[in-house]
């Protein structure tokens, strides 16, 4: 599973509606659960990476849900959301095993930033394969020691390939991950970016890049030598 999935456990559609749209725009797959039970079962039986959990959910108590999620041993992040901003709740919330805590009202940008920050923990800081070194936080890529400057999409594309080096990554997966938009499925845009990326990876002397292999009818593969 490459695409990050967020479960939004929130009953107020005045919140969940725009928020889920914002999250989708950020490239996450979003599930919405309008009450405690739905949230819990969604969290346990789907492949979720992060739960945004409103404490004021109807049905099972939010804290209880959080605890049960923790007890289940699943590796997912919990970001608590609540109208009550006093310390008691935040303490109790963190104690129940939440990874972070945002009080309402919140700024959308802040919430998104927190989500990004939480998810960043699961990304490796530097990846080095076949002479290509990718430094995530510096957003920098070195090929055989020399820095090459990649555009945003190129960088994401390379990351998508490198994090699964040695395996074929289907076109569809790449598009999900880099463009977050299945409507590009039929487009040649991806090929274009592959082309640019290969050229940059090949170095300035313009040789042919041997690292990104095409698998006809399926996708691409970043070879680990």
């Amino acid at each position: 599973m490459r695409v990050t999935t967020v479960l939004l456990a929130e009953d107020d559609s005045a919140i969940s509606d725009p928020l889920s749209r914002a999250l989708e725009r950020e490239g996450y797959k979003v599930l919405v659960a309008p009450d405690g039970n739905a949230a819990l079962s969604a969290a346990l039986y789907n492949d979720i990476n992060l739960v945004i959990l409103d404490l004021g959910l109807p049905g099972t108590d939010g804290l209880e849900i959080c605890r049960r999620i923790r007890d289940s041993g699943r590796d997912l992040l919990v970001l608590m959301l609540t109208a009550r901003t006093d310390e008691v709740d935040f303490i109790v919330g963190l104690d129940a095993g939440a990874d972070d805590y945002v009080g309402k009202p919140f700024r959308l940008a802040e919430l998104l930033a927190r989500v990004r920050a939480l998810l960043r923990r699961r990304e490796p800081e530097v990846l080095e394969i076949s002479g290509v070194r990718m430094e995530a936080r510096a957003r920098r890529v070195l090929v055989d020691g020399a820095e090459v400057s990649l555009a945003n999409k190129e960088f994401e594309l390379l990351r998508a390939l490198m994090t699964r080096a040695g395996q074929v990554v289907p076109r569809e997966d790449i598009i999900d991950e880099v463009w977050h938009d299945p409507s590009l499925l039929t487009s040649k845009t991806l090929d274009m970016h592959i082309s640019w990326l290969r050229r940059k990876l090949a170095g300035p002397n313009g040789g042919v890049d041997h690292r990104i292999a095409t698998v006809r009818g399926v996708g691409f593969r970043f070879d680990s030598d």
Copy 2:
């Protein structure tokens, strides 16, 4: 990067437990002391950078602990934490030598922000990267040995970039740190200051500055050569 150690002097484990987890997540090493004596000896005999000191600690009085820490001459920061939020305490607390003061109940985000802000003061007195020497207390900057005079915002901006040299600092983070005002996010003001800063860093002969790199759509990076 050195590890920053925080001493959490707090007896209520309902607070210290989750709070220490939150601090650890921020990347600090955390020690917990459940009473006054433990706090004092931990502060004096361990390599602590910052103490979060609950005034309501059992054993030795919190203010007294603070004074003793100060008297010991150790270079550490004290952030006071107390249920009593009236200004009398605040005054007394600062008088005892606290560097900052947070009343309960507090928001987690706020406490963490204060901690970060305090620790920023501890940042190295002089930072020297890629030929740029920044003397924090003197508020002076030398580029290849020659002093350049920076305006306030320029200085803060440069500091924000230099303290995270080698990493991309997102526009949003910079604005948080330098302007404390998210409404500037959409504005070109930051770019303006970047522009001025680059010009000054480039030196009088007006060459192009190579140190501050733009990362399109993300932020800026101060390159360590």
